[in-house]
């Protein structure tokens, strides 16, 4: 089934016209209501009336995470807080989170694209969806939640963690769909084996997985462990949250909901737009967003776009798997982590040193992060109690900023390998 066939299977010329109309309106709204964007547009010599077609997208200025940080918290909102009905936040590159606001219409659109996504995976009102994404400022839980309700399915809003309870709800409430990060899905699958739960007590048939990159090998593993068909959902809070794009039954890339999010692929060095099929950085323009529309937002995800018609009947552009990042962001247990966040915590503590290394591993399908911190030559004490105090304070500050825990390990000064004077900040041992 297709939730909105008039859009998802639209004639591409009609879609082009719709995008052009929406882009014109968006540029005008930004120019009139957001000083930061007016400045960006003026610097390029662009007046709102100059933009007539989506073909002119390539002439418009980019938006980066740094722009969001510089305008923290509400500088990029087009309207006052009165009209904003919800705020979500995700990791920023330093201490400040990345903030996004939604009007009621934004939330309605988000609900619509998630409903389209779930329908694309074959989910309908007879299904029971266990939403094991985090509920809170993270967009995963609430985003999936309202879209799932919209489809008429039964929703179990269990959020993350507590594997035993997850399995109990899954079996007792006859969940047919699980939505979570792929690594947690694999962990759940292995836990079913360990707990000795009979496969006939598990009614799952579909998995909707996202918030972190995963391989086809992981897909097969999860599908075998849980006896389901696994689908990829893609999104990022800056654009809307989950539901920016979704895999259909052909599983040949994710269809992007282009009536709301216009994609481009650029060369991250030259910033030139690349043709369909070429690998580059994915950029989105959110033409219908009211509260915080973004022009050409650089996602830093590296992938390709395909425009040929899909066997599922949808005409929407597809994006391939994300093959990496054009920045140093890590995704740990579905949470975005920037090494610079760790650095900002350490720089604020005079008893710590800003020399650190993140070591990422995957054990039993769950990501673990160890942070090695060189002790500060000037501040260390030969008392274990004081050293442990320093370690605990680092632990606490890291956890409260990142939202996930890490094992803090104090190491000797100059012990973290440096090449050409620059330390290697991240050792990621996961195979993606």
């Amino acid at each position: 089934m297709i939730w909105s066939p008039e859009i998802e299977c639209a004639d591409r010329q009609k879609l082009h016209e719709l995008q052009s109309k929406r882009l014109r309106e968006m540029v005008r709204r930004l120019y009139e209501n957001v000083p930061a964007y007016r400045k960006k547009l003026q610097e390029k010599g662009i007046e709102p009336g100059d933009i007539k077609s989506v073909d002119q997208l390539k002439d418009l200025p980019f938006t980066t995470k740094a722009d969001l940080r510089d305008n923290y918290p509400f500088g990029l909102f087009t309207l006052s807080q009165t009209d904003v009905v919800r705020i979500h936040a995700s990791s920023g590159t330093t201490g400040k989170p990345t903030v996004v606001g939604y009007t009621q219409r934004d939330l309605d659109i988000w609900t619509e694209v998630v409903a389209r996504s779930l329908t694309m995976a074959g989910i309908n009102k007879d299904d029971t969806i266990q939403v094991a994404y985090g509920y809170g400022p993270f967009t995963g839980g609430l985003g999936l939640h309202y879209g799932a309700e919209k489809t008429g399915a039964t929703v179990i809003p269990i959020s993350t963690g507590n594997t035993r309870k997850q399995l109990q709800f899954m079996t007792d409430f006859n969940a047919t769909v699980i939505a979570c990060t792929p690594s947690y899905a694999a962990h759940l699958g292995e836990s079913i084996l360990k707990e000795g739960i009979s496969p006939k007590d598990i009614k799952l048939r579909i998995g909707v997985f996202g918030a972190e990159p995963w391989t086809n090998e992981m897909r097969s593993q999860i599908e075998n462990l849980l006896n389901i068909k696994a689908y990829d959902i893609y999104g990022l809070s800056e654009i809307i949250g989950p539901g920016v794009s979704m895999e259909c039954e052909c599983q040949d890339g994710n269809h992007i909901f282009e009536d709301h999010f216009i994609p481009e692929i650029i060369d991250p060095e030259t910033l030139e737009v690349l043709p369909y099929g070429e690998l580059g950085e994915l950029v989105f323009t959110t033409v219908t967003k009211e509260a915080m529309p973004l022009l050409r937002y650089r996602t830093r995800d590296l992938t390709r776009l395909f425009v040929d018609k899909c066997d599922c009947g949808r005409t929407l552009v597809r994006m391939g798997k994300c093959l990496g990042r054009s920045d140093d962001m890590l995704i740990i247990r579905g949470v975005n982590v920037f090494p610079s966040q760790v650095e900002s915590v350490l720089l604020e503590m005079e008893e710590a040193s800003p020399h650190y290394q993140l070591i990422i591993n995957r054990e039993d399908n769950l990501d673990t992060m160890e942070i090695r911190v060189e002790i500060n030559e000037r501040f260390w004490s030969d008392s274990i109690r004081e050293l442990e105090g320093i370690r605990r304070r680092i632990d606490h500050n890291i956890k409260s900023l990142l939202g996930i825990g890490a094992a803090i390990k104090l190491v000797e000064p100059h012990s973290i390998e440096r090449s050409e004077g620059k330390a290697r900040r991240v050792v990621d041992n996961r195979r993606m």
């Binding site: 260390w380 030969d382 274990i384 050293l387 104090l410 190491v411 000797e412």
Partner: protein
């Protein structure tokens, strides 16, 4: 009466302690007393050595995280109750011992004590006629 103890931060990896003893051996620095305090991830080696200032320099040059910490070395008769007498004096004077280690050899027992206010430790122990070692005594041990 203050003894300069050598404190070295060591990562928990094999061979690191050997690296340290090798430097001391090469420079003919004698270790009078040593204790190793460890956690899951790292350890602190505390040593009373001859020529602590030189030892600190050699170790620092070799890339160790090292510092000198003021401690007191008490010379006690090697008999039951001797350590108790020392610690009771400190307790009676509300002095909290951060850490200590001790060894005995023939007639001599040596206790190395670290506390926040090391001068106060010296003062109360001397007042109670405890025998404290001087830095120069370390050579003769």
């Amino acid at each position: 009466m203050i003894i300069k103890q050598l404190s070295v931060f060591l990562e928990d990896r094999s061979g690191r302690l050997t690296d340290l003893t090798q430097i001391l051996a090469e420079h003919e620095i004698n270790i009078t007393a040593l204790s190793l305090a460890e956690t899951a991830d790292y350890g602190i080696v505390r040593m009373v050595v001859g020529k602590p200032g030189c030892a600190e320099e050699f170790l620092r040059e070799a890339g160790f995280s090292v510092r000198l910490t003021d401690v007191v070395c008490v010379n006690m008769p090697d008999r039951p109750g001797a350590l108790h007498e020392v610690l009771k004096i400190l307790a009676d004077n509300n002095i909290n011992v951060d850490y200590m280690y001790a060894f005995s050899n023939k007639d001599v027992a040596l206790g190395v004590i670290r506390a926040a206010d090391i001068d106060q430790v010296i003062e109360v122990l001397q007042k109670n006629e405890m025998q404290l070692l001087r830095q120069s005594d370390i050579y003769q041990l």
